[in-house]
Homo-oligomer: 275 residues x 2
């Protein structure tokens, strides 16, 4: 299997470093160069309270912060935000809200622990799932459009082509692509998309999201929270993501590659092309 | 590009669910079955204190809990552990230590936020890196052995072959494989390995680790903490992982595929076969 990346493609790709490496085979070593994805710590300060440090790719850090805070339930809408100040060199984003939410530190910490990257007990009891609203959108899309979008999507990421080391995500509407982003973190790529939508007032309801990485329960819940009815992955879903998608009314497709795709839930939204 | 998985292989693979899906092409839909990786929340209760909930694959939850607590600095050695009680159905692991560490809740929460999956500010300042000890091992390995190990490694995972949705990790010693595990979470797969080593008294110092997924800074720091001098990935490293590996004396290989590999740091540990 050949490497997925083509270092030759990537002269000056944002978010990468060019480094000296040794290329080794059974026959010996040879000095060469490689392009690697940058990774940086980003501390989010929310109303003067240090909230969390994420490891992420540089770029669109305001979107990442807004999307993360939205996913965590600390922001509801664009109008909640007074200002977002990014200091990329220091790895700090300050987000201030119109109403200076004075949350007890312990509650805040508790929230953070039980959600986010790889952590999320609070959502998983049946009761909690019932409290989450259903995605009611009647939007449909044809199978051939899904296959075409994914083909297009797989050519969008210069960072992935250069480094093989990032996840990407895109939001599509009836007229075409609305947002695209990529990050070393699967969750971050999705948060960057939804953060951009929040900051720019892009409507997410009724749209279609494509992601390169696996669909776990947390990705599914982020998508549900933004009322996106169709999520499509190049890769695999987990059983929990499939169950939640079924219950919340979301159409989930996985392994969308070449000329076929798996529809895991709510298949009525995927129409045949004869329609 | 063909799907990476072969559902036909997977009669009764542990950690999977068989579900009904629709397979769709431009020509229409067809009912079929698919195998998906299970995902479950696991709450770790440490000395009667609810510590964290991870999303993970079922299986070896005692190893996961021990490895996670070790990575977080809450366990140092096997003798610290009084007992580990796993209730897989409820998704709970209770770990009790000989000395009932009574950590202030706020400190504990603070720790958890700044480390773990996708979060890790505390380690990233130069001072912190300096405090971490160097990996001094003089172990070397031949290029051809690395290439052979990775080929073997890629055939070890029934869960990946069945679902395409998990990450795997293995620890190799001079005599062959010491531990293998897989999980929907990249960090969890590594924590399961080191947890098993901790519980069974398997020496990690001087060994070689292979992982399927990307090497980010947090994976690198977990490996450094266990004095593993050589880490090998089928996939890409980030720039931060490369920098830390260089500083901490770890040999990092990436894109080990077929007959070649990239050596990013401390290449002296990879010998040519003439040796």
């Amino acid at each position: 299997m050949e490497p997925l990346k083509s270092p030759s493609l990537s002269g000056e790709i944002a978010g990468t470093d060019r480094i000296s490496i040794q290329r080794v085979t059974r026959d010996g070593k040879q000095a060469t160069e490689d392009i690697v994805a940058r990774e940086m710590p980003l501390t989010i300060i929310f109303n003067n309270q240090e909230l969390v440090t994420l490891l992420c790719s540089p770029g669109d850090l305001n979107s990442l912060a807004a999307g993360f805070l939205y996913s965590e339930g600390l922001l509801e809408k664009r109008e909640d935000i007074k200002r977002v100040l990014v200091d990329e060199d220091k790895g700090i984003v300050r987000v201030e809200t119109v109403q200076d939410t004075d949350m007890p530190a312990e509650l805040l910490f508790k929230r953070m622990i039980t959600s986010g990257c790889g952590r999320g007990a609070s959502f998983y009891s049946a009761a909690d799932v019932k409290n989450r609203h259903q995605v009611e959108s009647q939007a449909t899309v044809s199978a051939s459009r899904v296959l075409s979008l994914v083909q297009e999507f797989q050519h969008l990421s210069p960072l992935y082509r250069a480094t093989g080391g990032v996840h990407s995500a895109a939001l599509y509407g009836a007229g075409g692509i609305l947002a695209f982003n990529e990050d070393i973190g699967r969750h971050n790529a999705v948060d960057k998309i939804f953060g951009e939508c929040l900051l720019k007032g892009i409507i997410t309801e009724g749209q279609l999201m494509v992601i390169s990485g696996r669909i776990s329960s947390e990705i599914l819940l982020k998508v549900a929270k933004r009322n996106v009815p169709i999520i499509v992955s190049v890769s695999a879903p987990t059983d929990l993501a499939v169950r939640l998608a079924g219950e919340l009314g979301i159409t989930l497709l996985g392994f969308v590659r070449g000329k076929h795709a798996n529809i895991y839930t709510n298949e009525w939204r995927i129409t045949s092309d004869a329609k």
